[in-house]
Amino acid sequence: MAETAQQLSTQHLLGIKDLTTEDIHLILETASTFKDVINRPIKKVPSLRDITIANVFFENSTRTRLSFELAEKRLSADVINFAASSSSVSKGETLIDTVNNILAMKVDMIVMRHPYPGAGVFLSKHVNAQIINAGDGAHEHPTQALLDAFSISEQYGDVAGKKVAIIGDILHSRVALSNILCLQKLGAEVLVCGPTTLIPKYIASLGVKIEHDLLKALRWCDVANMLRIQLERQDINYFPSLREYSMLYGLNKTILESLDKKITIMHPGPINRGVEITSDVADSKHSIILDQVQNGVAVRMAVLYLLAGKRI
């Protein structure tokens, strides 16, 4: 890794909203270097030796937690994992106490997934550690947005000027918000598409286009990012059935082939096959879903590496 004078403007990664455009470019450039690293026979570098990172997950996650853990291990950090259901924590020990107990064991960085929006921001104000937000409620999921931007620029050479449609459950999605903010900072145009009940009333204030017709959204875009229906975050019924959702917003081969251009299909995973996307689309050459997963490790390595350079 070439020595560079460039540094992030922030100590934590709480959300895309705290990053400057320069920060984002720096992360993406660094990720590109790390992507080369992880494709070499020896995938490990010593950059974070002697740094201990705790992955603290208050909500289920497979891919994000594995991705962070791999990124940490490939940077030679020491890693510990903590998982708890949010319900047991909200009844007992407070978030600050839980994290301070982990920090007392000489941990340097906290990667946290939490069901409540702003949990990372809150934590960063009350504990003495660097915080990396691995998803907080429907607020932000910054590393997902960064890896999505990385994947788009890999496809097209640049994110600027691209048209990206984010399709699905926008209301309950942290991926949507972080993606909107990140893509806009990089100069892309963003459209959101989904059932009227799953689009926040004031979403236009973020400067995005709104479309409720899947076909029109697909015709407009270069990239379609298909979001998962977050049934676990829906306390009431926002639409009658998955069947009906799929009829309106499910992406299948027939629709895709009716377009007069090739678009790129993304999905943050996990996929509900047959709901928002059919298997033949998910597994087609249009889809870069597995590239996204690989890029996730490189982007998280970049974030951890750059933040480690900001340690006090």
């Binding site: 409540y116 949990a119 809150f122 918000l177 926040p200």
Partner: protein, 423 residues
Amino acid sequence: MDKILIKSATLAFPGHEKDGQMIDVLIYRGVVDTIGDKNTLNDEEAVIIDAHGHYLAPGFFDLNANLGEPGLETKETIMSGCGAAAAGGFTGLAMQPNTEPALHSRGEIAMVVNIAKDNLVSLHPVGAISKERSGNDLAELYDMKLAGAIAFSNGNKSIQQAGLMSRALLYCKGFNALVMSYAEDASIANHAKMNEGVVSTYLGMKGNPSLAEELMVARDLSLASYHETAIHFSTISTKGSVSLIREAKKKGIAVTCDVAAHHLVLTDQEVAGFDSNYKVSPPLRTADDVHALKEGLLDGTIDAVVSQHTPHEVEFKRVEFEIAKNGMIGLQTVLPLLLKAELPISLIVQKIAISPRKILNLPMPAFNVGAAANLVLFNPKESWTFDERTNHSKSNNSPFYGTTLTGRVSLVINNNKVYSNLN
């Protein structure tokens, strides 16, 4: 302090012949003894207060305070709450039934009345409309009224069943009791923790729309109109509520309403840092709403301003915004916030001393020789820091805690008792 001589205070008693003039007044054993023009009275035995720059007004009255007793004494006791009230210039409080158990029967009402009976602050419990504030059936409202309940509300749990609210209004009409409505349709609010708007969208937070409040205001106005009875709305917060109530007043519906002081100076922008001290219910709204609320105060649509004093231990606030409890302490910050909102002093006195008592049909403090002194002396220009030395509440959950506020209460007299905060 048997004898107190206040010299050169500006009188702020709406309707009084000397309103707006500088006066001297001698108070002897809790009674207005002598009133004179400025700098004319002398008394060698009296404690003399130079009140230049100070206003002398009727003691403030708060229609919406939560005092935590019974059951929540670690948040606030009746005595600590009354202490905070006096320090904020209040000589009377309507205590909301958000206690555990709720103030839902003669027993709780009598207990509150009894604990507070010798206090400087005249405390009036508000009885719960339904048992446990469950919103299912009527509590024994008449019995509570006999025990001292000044009005009835369901506290911070809005009554969702129109039928129950309808019966509460009609039943209370039978013995001239006022029903206070906290308006929020739970199925629309949907457990959201902040106002729905541009800010909630940017924060990825579910929004509690103005609609949730306005639907309930509209419903309860229809009920009050149908039963030809009075209704009071507590802590309205939206532009739409102001206009619904303005129209209802024009139509002759006997409606009154209040707004919490913090809703006049804070907006949902404050939530951007996820500081739970800004988590209140109803949620902080937009600048547009704040503007409409102020207009409502000026044109008389909104009758009163309240503290909505809601104490919580730090354990309930130093947590993620989502699970933090709603509310902030407010008894000591009402006056500074209204001054910060740039409301004229005559209007402030109207909204926090005169109107609240009118709404509850309580006697108005009089300012004439021989009258029991029910007074507050304050300096609207003097600054003070709200911190552990000045806070009288058992809790400190306020975004203003640790800040410097302008508008300081120096002296409060009521029930032949004196609270002094003189320099």
